[in-house]
Amino acid sequence: MPDEVLLRLEGLTKSFGGLKVVDDVSFEVRRGARLGLIGPNGAGKTTVFNLISGVYPIDAGAITLDGRAIATLPPRDRVLAGLARSFQNIRLMPHLSAVENVMLGQHARASGLGALLTPISWMPRGRWRREAEALLAEAGLDIDPGEVVSALPYGIRKKIEVVRALASRPKLLLLDEPAAGLNPAETAELARFLRAIATTGTALLVVEHDMGFVNEVCENVVVLNFGRRIFAGTMADARLDPTVREAYLGAEEDPAHAA
Amino acid sequence: MSASAPLVRGAHPLAISAGVALAAICCIALLAMLPGGATLAQQIVSGLMLGGIYVTVAVAFTLTIGVLNFLNFTIPTMFMLTGMVAWGLARWGLPFGLSGGLHWALALLGGIIVSIAASLVVERFTFRYLKTRHGDATEHAIPLVSSLGFLLIFEHLVLIVLGSEAQSFPVRFRLDWHLGPLVLGLPQLASLLLSLGIVFWLSWLLTSTRTGRALRSIAESPDTATLLGVEVTRIVPIVFLLSGLLCGVAGALFVVNYSDVSPFMGEHVGTKAIAAMVLGGLGSIWGAIAGGLLVGLMETLGIHFFGGDAAQVVVWSALLAAIVLRPQGLFGGTRIGKGKL
């Protein structure tokens, strides 16, 4: 039986210049779980994502994905190991269409010279394209899949990024503020979509400031402040924890009243 | 630009340069006194003189890249414009028959003015329109491509108006100073000193004046510079003005020393100046000085030992190797200006 723990971070540490941005952070994400990573601005949440996905090398600590130590793997290999992510500032390929961005996400699964050299753009009924379009539809995106993304509105692009990350059928999905800038209707729909994803077995690690959203989507939370982990547990318990309240009140946010 | 490679390094550069120059002079003198060393010493001297021209143009390149992250391919064209326009003015005088053939000094001045004007035209139509859109891989090259467009415009306008023949500028100084076995052309020596003088003046400008500090802050970080109140839109044209001036001076000195002008003189000098800039380190003025002299030496000694064409291969191969193996050159930092404004 596979290990219950999918992602394990142990003693993760990273400094930039003299500043310790991530300080001895440890937590776990279980298979199929939905975990929120929250904390005031500047707490180091995006940096943790960047360390997990391999944008920066770690200074100290260990990262294990599905039993495999990935901290020394190049970013590409971490994707192949089952990791995918979205970005705080949308980083879609502006000159590619919606469906092409999603098909890019499939790249990790489409290995081999044959897959690389089939003219997928000429095969609208081809398996990869239909899968990509289906993913877009499931996310509730009623758009022309051939539309170049630079022309699409913000909310839609945000969702396309999540769909792109999903296209690699990851074991673990890192989502960096997926609801930022979305209106209440879009936010609710995204929450529904993410819960649906999790039922298929993909684990979610979500960074968010919208506490209502976190409450909707995540079972548990890990709270960071100034790069350190100050709490891990349920959302309800987090609201009552004095260290957490202090962290947020200090940053003009009270988790009990946010969202 | 990272803090490790400012446009100008501190620590009494004048003292260091004076020391280096003195040491070089002693070495050359020693070499000249050795049996059979005179020819080599003469070649070295010629190489340094040629290098002086390259220094000035290389500094123009490196200043633009250091502050604006912009490889301005119009720079060698401005060098050529100075020479060709000066020749045209000396030969025919002002356009529309406003005067007869100008005195050589006025003609050179006219050439320099045209160079500066051309530079400001380039600024008006390239840099001011630059908006960082997506930050993709080829976007940095937009002003570079524009400068290539201007290169074509200026070069072919010169071909149309002034013809494609190589010409001789009417005045050429020949005043040789015989120093033992060595022959120093005084005009060439004067040019070398003038080039270096202008470059030292430029580095003084960058370190000690308000405008200079504004330029360096833009090189460091254009966003911070704007936050600190630097009027970027007024300072940027100064870079173009300075590079136009440098090219003009280099062109004028070249013409006075070697007398040959042609619509293609920009290409010959420009490519060496780029090599000089890279060898010295993009964005470093001292690097441009060292690089310019080095390239002058390499070219002259290369021609002496291997012949003209082979020398070109040597210089270009050295450049390619430098870019691949040590892109930061002698004095450059690992990053050049982020000046995408």
């Binding site: 890019l104 089939t118 003219p119 289906a134 009623d142 | 993709d136 891989a137 937009i142 390619l320």
Partner: protein
């Protein structure tokens, strides 16, 4: 067809192939300012193989393409370690090294040039141009082409999607070099003479410029760019140096107002390629 227009068409065909060579690397995010160097390698390879080994063009041209692609492959590793303006300079320097070496080798004709045996006629050029066009359209339609275009837009994120950035960049550089070599080999056999002075820095500049004018987002770009550069001045009867003044002015204007080039994906969409909504796919 009159001899005059046949000549234009021949140059157009060669320019299209050359343009695709530069396009392939530009579409992947790298600017090659040394195109003429690769074309020279192809031209001289074809010339030497035809002259020394007596091979017919049916052999020399593919061989020239392969040789140039291999050189491109070899040079890609050091050059792709550089970035941005350094890469532009490295390719620029490389082209000069190539012509410099040619000029100093008497075996390659030095400054006198080489006569090339076996004439290749217009239909062959047109056929090669069509084949190249189809090849590049196909390449851009594949997952490899998608990876290349993604690298152009955002290399870091592409890597995070699992794209092997270095491998794709080397491949696009080598393919581009090969196509430039193909253009060179065909040029050699059609004009029956090659000299290093033709493969100048200006030639590298021209081809890069008209590829950028055409647009690097889609495979239609090089067709538009090459046609624009080769045919339009003829149609407008602009001769000699004025042609380049106008060309330069258009470059400046394009960089100011439409740096992505004439043909963009949004333009193609507006011209009216079929639009489907996601719902139709089910």
């Amino acid at each position: 067809m009159s001899g005059y227009w046949a000549g234009i068409l021949a140059i157009l065909a060669i320019n299209i192939i050359f343009a695709y060579g530069i396009f392939v690397t530009a579409a992947a995010g790298q600017l090659n300012l040394g195109g003429a160097g690769f074309m020279a390698i192809g031209a001289y390879a074809a010339a030497v193989l035809g002259e020394q080994l007596g091979w017919s063009p049916a052999l020399t041209v593919p061989a020239a393409t392969l040789v140039t692609a291999l050189v491109g492959f070899a040079i890609a590793f050091p050059v792709l370690r550089t970035r941005g303006v350094y890469m532009v300079l490295a390719t620029f320097a490389f082209a000069h090294v190539v012509t410099g070496v040619i000029l100093t080798q008497p075996a390659l004709g030095g400054a006198m040039g080489l006569v090339v045996p076996d004439y290749v006629d217009l239909p062959v050029l047109i056929g090669a141009a069509i084949a190249t066009t189809l090849l590049v359209f196909w390449l851009m339609a594949t997952r490899l082409g998608l990876a290349m275009r993604a690298l152009h837009d955002d290399e870091l994120v592409s890597t995070l999607m699992g794209v092997p950035a270095r491998a794709v960049q080397v491949a696009s550089f080598a393919i581009g070099a090969g196509l430039a070599g193909l253009a060179g080999g065909l040029y050699a056999h059609h004009f029956s003479f090659v000299e290093a002075q033709y493969f100048s820095a200006l030639l590298s500049i021209y081809v890069l410029l008209f590829v950028l004018i055409g647009g690097t987002q889609t495979a239609w770009g090089p067709l538009v760019g090459a046609t624009f550069f080769t045919v339009v001045p003829e149609l407008l009867r602009i001769g000699g140096s004025w042609r380049y003044v106008v060309f330069g002015a258009i470059i400046v204007a394009m960089m100011m107002f439409r740096p992505e080039g004439i043909v963009t994906r949004t333009l193609l969409a507006r011209i009216g390629f079929r639009r489907r909504r996601v719902a139709d796919a089910r």
